[in-house]
């Protein structure tokens, strides 16, 4: 197992390096100049002035030099400064990572707490009104856009209760109540969106497992239905559920952009989008690199969890 993990981690290095090269190239070949966007609508600048700004930002070096300079900075944990704010990128990323992680973890917990029981009950009661209700709930979660649910949540809570979640972000340790009031909405809405495919997957996986011989054997032995379901059925049905949940992590990042915008959360998702629009190259490069590392790590954890759930799977 240890050898397998080491091999996977070594294989991750070219993956992450490739990602850095791709994102560096994409950012540089994209039309648009960061200097123009920094100057904006309201300042008149000559080409010479723009060139001077470009030089100040380190953008006048040849591209390979820029890439290697940036990469060597990353390797030595010097992630550089934002082209826009001139502040160290890591400070902003660290600050913004916290609410995004809170939303992502909260949404994941909400989705699993809702989806797995709902999907399992739906499978056990196949064809019943409960089954139809769960399937309707899941399809609605897939069909209704997050932004609509979020906007309606704000509008209706204001109309009927004269209340909306706080608009100023406070971190959990400074003001846990305000923090949770602000983040609970995004967690629930994203959790619901994530629960929809997971519930459907749970239902189909449990249905498939319940038809297996070992389930019939367990029942024939006289085990209680709950034992059959939880000890023999659900554990074996978890493999596809874990796979789909892991792949949804990307959805949590992209989906959080909209939630962060509507619920005024200064998170990482919106930071990525704003940085792309502003052509803040080092910020985008770093965030994408972090995401690539995150994906690699989550995929590794997912693969390792297979062996834990199914003893027949062995890594060598």
């Amino acid at each position: 197992m240890t050898a397998y993990i080491i091999r996977r981690l070594l294989l991750a290095i070219p993956t992450v390096l490739g990602t850095t090269l791709i994102i560096f190239t994409i950012m540089r070949v994209m039309p648009g100049d960061v200097v123009d966007t920094i100057i904006g609508d309201e300042v008149v600048a000559t080409e010479a002035q723009k060139d001077r700004i470009r030089e100040d930002l380190g953008l006048s070096d040849p591209l390979p030099v820029q890439y290697l300079t940036w990469l060597s900075g990353v390797v030595t944990l010097d992630f550089g400064d934002s082209l826009w704010t001139r502040r160290p990128i890591l400070d902003d990323v660290a600050r913004r990572l916290v609410p995004t992680l809170q939303i992502a973890v909260g949404a994941l917990i909400v989705s699993l707490l809702v989806a797995i029981p709902a999907g399992a009950v739906s499978a056990i009661r196949q064809g019943s009104i409960v089954d139809y209700a769960v399937r309707g709930f899941a399809i609605a979660g897939l069909a209704i856009p997050n932004f609509w649910i979020a906007t309606m949540a704000l509008l209706l809570s204001n109309l009927y209760f004269g209340w909306i979640p706080p608009i100023a972000y406070r971190d959990f340790w400074t003001d846990p109540s305000q923090n949770m009031q602000q983040l609970l909405g995004p967690m629930l809405i994203l959790g619901y969106a994530l629960a929809a495919p997971v519930a459907r997957m749970t239902r189909s996986a449990v249905l498939e497992v319940l038809r297996e011989d070992y389930i019939r054997t367990a029942r024939a032995k006289g085990l209680r239905q709950s034992n059959v379901l939880f000890r023999h059925g659900l554990k074996n049905a978890l493999l596809p559920i874990i796979t789909i949940s892991a792949t949804q992590v990307g959805f949590l990042i992209s989906g959080s952009v909209i939630m962060e915008t509507i619920f005024v959360v200064p998170g990482l998702g919106k930071f990525v989008v704003d940085s792309i629009h502003g052509r803040d190259y080092p910020v985008v490069q770093l965030l994408v690199t972090f995401m690539a590392v995150g994906y690699v790590f989550i995929n590794l954890l997912t693969d390792l969890s297979y062996a834990w759930l199914d003893p027949r799977i062995r890594y060598s």
Partner: protein, 354 residues
Amino acid sequence: VEYVVIGAKEVLERDGELGQDPVGTGAFRLADYVPGSTVTLDRFDEYFESELPYLDRIVYNIIADRRTALEAFLAEDLDMLYALNEQGAEISSRMGDNAVVSTTASNARNHLFLNSSRPPFNDPRVRQALSIAASRADHAALVYGGFGREIGGYMAPGPEGVWSLPEERIRAIRGYGDNDLAEARALLEAAGIAEGTELEIVSRNIYETLAVFVTETLRQLGLNGTPRLLDTAEAYAAGASGQFDILPWTAVPPLDDPDAVLGDIGWSGASRNWSFFDNARVDELYLQQSRTLDVEERREMVNEIDATLLENYASIVMGYNVITHAHRAQVKNKSYHFGESYYNRSYTDIWLDS
């Protein structure tokens, strides 16, 4: 020079720039900044006017989603709001006397930059045809939510704009009065523009409504155009490189001053001369007015530049927006003036009535 920043020498020497440790001369000082969330300013106790300011603290909430900002204001979580024009009515109806809604004239205007460096807009008749076809009233209704000024030149219209070309002179220019599709079509025909001609419309993604308006105007003329909406950086690059036929754009010159406005979008050397319009007389007058101290003499030159640009359809000025402001009734002594939202942020002598 449009902005002059006054800062502390020791900060510049220490940081190499002024942005990280702002030093100002105002009545409030920066207390806290949470990127993407809030900017907090505290009362500066040593302000030179000893009784001012009245407020102890101002918190700016950075809210990107306009609906969220509106709901926060309606829920009375905010005292003031820079609203969308169409939100004013909703605020009034839901808050009644608890809110004060007002609009002020602004220097924000919509231009249709027409690429005169290549066909078909290198032909003045085609530029004129588009100006005649484009309904300023429809534009104001669609893009400004029924607000705004329909007629204006390069310099902001009076009485707020002090350098404006008189409205009757603007209206006398064909294409700045009533729109006439038949006349516009005749001009296109004379210029040899066939029905169904494809035109490349490029704009910023935040100007989608304006781009849609242009597309519809072209359709009425029998021309085709599919807007390509780009993010800011890409749109600037497209504008500067001339990769478009029509570039609908909102320009907001920071000052109602000929150097600021015409230096940005008027003369051939302007940083956003995206129509690639080149007129020796305009250039001569632009440089001359910049060195002229007599106001009336300068105004005449500026008016001539404005008229020349409009008569040649260097770009088509579609109209001027207004700014809608709202504040809770308990906010006292807040007044707004011409310009743009950036300039209406003095809180020195306002107070809250409990």
